[in-house]
Amino acid sequence: MKRSRKLVGLTIVFLFAVLVAGPVWAAFPQPQGFVNDFANVLDRRSQSELQVLAEQLRADQGVELAVVTVASTDPLDPKEYTTGLFNEWGIGGPEDSGLLILLAVAERAIEVEPGYGLEGVLPDGLIGAVIDQEGMPHFREGDYGAGITAMAKAYARILAGEKFEIAEEEKGDFGWLYSFLIFILIVLLLRRNRFYPPRGGGASGGGSGRRTIFVPGPTMGGPRMPTGRGSGGFGGFGGGRSGGGGAGRRF
């Protein structure tokens, strides 16, 4: 009798714990690699490019980049979800040098969060400027893959020590002139590319012209499983922490 009462008590405590902790923990999926397209919104080419980029970042800078897309972050708001997921996965290892790019489709939100170790190199203002300049134009058109890839490339360049040029708002009357000149330049470049088709398809990702086939890099297992565990250097995250910094936008 006494024993069964104890059992009932334990069960109640357990159920209570599940009820209290459940929604928060259950909200986070397991990491599948550097690129986790849970919402199925990234095209295969972007996935491959991001995968290669993440492997390079880890090899060259020791930085762990995680890209995550989710259908929704409900019941948390996108920022809370991002911070929670970051610390739950432990992106960035013992040096806390992780970078999480998270896109929530239903909330139309993009959140970028650095680990403690990257806060110095990637201040929030810079993170936000990269979102504005590299990501937002693509997100507004619904091209999530291109936006995230452009952003990830910009962050990789900053982490490698390059300076990111923040576009200044044009104040004078020359704004239209600059736009016009740039437009002419683009038209000229495009025309040039038409006459001189791009050479080769290396992994440098110059982005000029249109490539019909993507040639996977040597580190890839094959085009069919761009995010598979065995295909690259992904051995699981762990230990990385973030303090909730970073920047986000709604598009």
Binding site: K79, I166, E169, G243, G245, G248, R250
Partner: protein, 187 residues
């Protein structure tokens, strides 16, 4: 005589065992209290970080909306109160008034489209939003440590030991209403 010795020995053993219990309980209390203090230091860091951002933000807003003197004065006053506050309680209160003053400052910016488009203003707002999120995160971690502390010292037999050493429950750092609305840069 012999019986008396036995009683003494038994008492001595009990006292020693109790002493060991008390010492380990005390050490646990010290550890938990240190944890709470460490967490609070993290919160302080982020509050400081935000206070450091404010002068730049105010300067930028002044460049476009110089006549909104009242708000600038409020922000400056709340900021200096936060920097002057020493105890966690004072800091929490000063922080709440800084929250509301900052809210008004950012509300102004809505009326000035040129300010909203200023790149340095956007960057500062990102920094500010990031810091708000950091404060929220550190606040949550601080509150968790306070929770552990408060439950531990209220449970038997720890409550006896805690009261002997004068350990008291600590106050949570509650988010002030409106502080949850992290300034969002929207387009």
């Amino acid at each position: 005589m012999k019986k008396g010795t036995l009683v003494l020995v038994v008492i001595a053993v009990i006292v020693i065992l109790l002493g060991i219990r008390v010492i380990s309980a005390y050490n646990r209390l010290v550890e938990l209290e240190q944890n709470v203090e460490g967490r609070w230091a993290q919160v302080e860091n982020q509050l400081q970080r935000r206070a450091d951002l404010i002068p730049n933000l105010v300067e930028t807003v002044k460049g476009y909306a110089s006549h909104e003197q009242q708000v600038f004065a409020d922000v400056a006053e709340a900021r200096s109160r936060l920097l002057a506050a020493r105890t966690p309680e004072d800091q929490m209160e000063a922080n709440a008034s800084l929250d509301s003053a900052l809210g008004r400052l950012l509300a102004i910016s809505e009326a000035y489209p040129e300010l909203k488009a200023d790149t340095s203003f956007i960057r500062l707002q990102d920094e500010l939003a990031g810091t708000e999120n950091r404060i929220a995160t550190e606040r949550m971690r601080f509150n968790e440590s306070v929770q552990t502390w408060n439950t531990t010292i209220r449970r038997f037999p720890m409550n006896l030991i805690a009261s002997v050493f004068g350990k008291e429950p600590k106050r949570f750092f509650e988010a002030s209403p409106g502080a949850q609305e992290v300034p969002q840069v929207s387009f």
